[in-house]
């Protein structure tokens, strides 16, 4: 079957979007999980500071999320813009 240029380009864009978000979700998932795990340990050691520890966990997780956001942006660009 003859595949014309535009179709091939779009096909590559869609495959790339899937790979981008798929692989991009791995890192933040593991990293944020590590943060949550250590937060549990921290609260286990010092339950009275639960509020402060939760806040620190959330800020840390938000920073770890950033690369996941980049992957999402690239995926959306590949889906809708290029």
């Amino acid at each position: 079957m003859a595949i014309e240029g535009m179709d091939l380009v779009k096909a590559a864009a869609f495959l790339g979007a899937g790979i981008s978000m798929g692989l991009g979700a791995i890192g933040p998932g593991v990293g944020e999980g590590m943060v949550a795990a250590k937060a549990c340990e921290a609260i286990g050691k010092n339950p009275r500071e639960a509020g402060l520890l939760t806040r620190t966990m959330l800020v840390g997780q938000a920073v770890a999320e950033s690369t996941g956001i980049y992957s999402l942006v690239i995926a959306l660009l590949l889906l809708f813009v290029v």
Partner: protein, 325 residues
């Protein structure tokens, strides 16, 4: 491609798929059982008089870890020997998808089930009086840990036995391969993560037998959240398998569907692992600090929810690829 008839290609896909299913499926259970045996040996060296009990517990734990690769063996045997008499080319895609689904799906659950087995053996050596409690918790935890492998088996069976011949080859071939990848890959993280939580709970119960009830509860809640990426994978697989796609000669539709499978599939690995890490830590610390159990449960859930976010992005991208573009 034109010189070989559809029958030959179906057999190619069946045999390659069978190889992938068993090849990948063997990895997880072997690693998990090895981990259990290694910790069992440490347990026996610590307390040789209990070697009988520890050995028995090791074998039971290893048997549960084995189940994921038994699923893979069943799928591989089916792929090798099933009758593909009047099958069309679309069947080749389905069989390859089945092999991918079960192969990848067995990895996480196999390794994960090794953790509770090993920790239970160590726990028996430390606190022989708790043997039955530890064994029970080990069995509960590893059974939940097998769930993603069971999801993969369900998808593999649907791909093996459902009749897709009415569907157009393009783009359904990509939908079926994508369906296999979606559940298979996502199961890796959830299986491993669920196993981490179960391992932590066995260690916690060994350390603090009075906390058994709370530890088991937190373990089950944590494991349930850790299963979510595998459920996303299963959902996308079902959509890909059962949605009717109109015939098209365009490559972009096929690649969109394949990309959808890859997105949710890979996307489930990280959050599954991360949720498992959070659950493991939470159960460990519930055992060490029982009065703080509510706070620990709360922060575990909050942390797991944030960690889940990229799996949700991945599923959204998959759904856009299936329904919008």
């Amino acid at each position: 491609m034109m010189e070989f008839d559809a029958q030959a290609w179906v057999k190619v896909a069946a045999f390659v798929g069978g190889g992938i299913a068993m090849g990948l499926g063997a990895i997880g259970a072997a690693i998990g059982e090895g981990y259990t045996a290694s910790l069992a040996n440490l347990a026996v060296s610590r307390n040789p008089k209990l070697s009988g009990d520890i050995f028995k517990n090791m074998l039971v734990g290893q048997a549960v870890a084995e189940s994921a690769s038994i699923f893979a063996l069943v799928v591989a045997i089916l792929l090798l020997f099933m009758n593909t008499g009047d099958a069309t080319l679309i069947k080749a895609a389905a069989l390859l998808g089945a092999g991918l689904s079960m192969g990848f799906g067995a990895v996480g659950s196999g390794v994960g089930s090794g953790f509770p087995g090993g920790q239970a053996c160590l726990g028996i050596s430390r606190q022989p009086a708790n043997t039955s409690r530890l064994t029970t918790n080990m069995l509960i935890g590893s059974a939940v840990c097998q769930t993603p492998a069971i999801f993969s088996l369900v998808v593999a069976f649907i791909l093996l036995f459902m009749d897709f011949s009415a569907a157009p080859l393009n783009p359904t071939w990509a939908a079926l391969v994508g369906a296999g990848l979606s559940t298979g890959l996502a199961a890796i993280g959830s299986g491993y993560g669920g196993g981490m939580a179960a391992g932590g709970s066995c260690e916690g119960i060994a350390r603090q037998p009075e906390a058994t009830g709370n530890v088991t509860t937190v373990m089950l809640v944590g494991q349930a959240v850790a299963q979510t990426p595998a459920i996303f994978g299963l959902l996308v697989s079902f959509i890909l398998m059962f949605k009717v796609f109109p015939e098209t000669t365009q490559l972009q539709t096929s690649m969109a569907l394949l990309g959808a499978g890859l997105s949710t599939g890979f996307g489930g690995i990280g959050p599954g692992l991360g949720n498992g890490m959070a659950a493991e830590s939470a159960v460990c610390w519930v055992a060490r600090n029982l009065p703080s159990a509510p706070e620990l449960m709360r922060i575990m859930l909050v942390g797991q929810a944030v960690s889940q976010s990229t799996a949700i992005y991945a599923m959204v991208v998959s759904l856009v690829l299936i329904f919008v573009v």
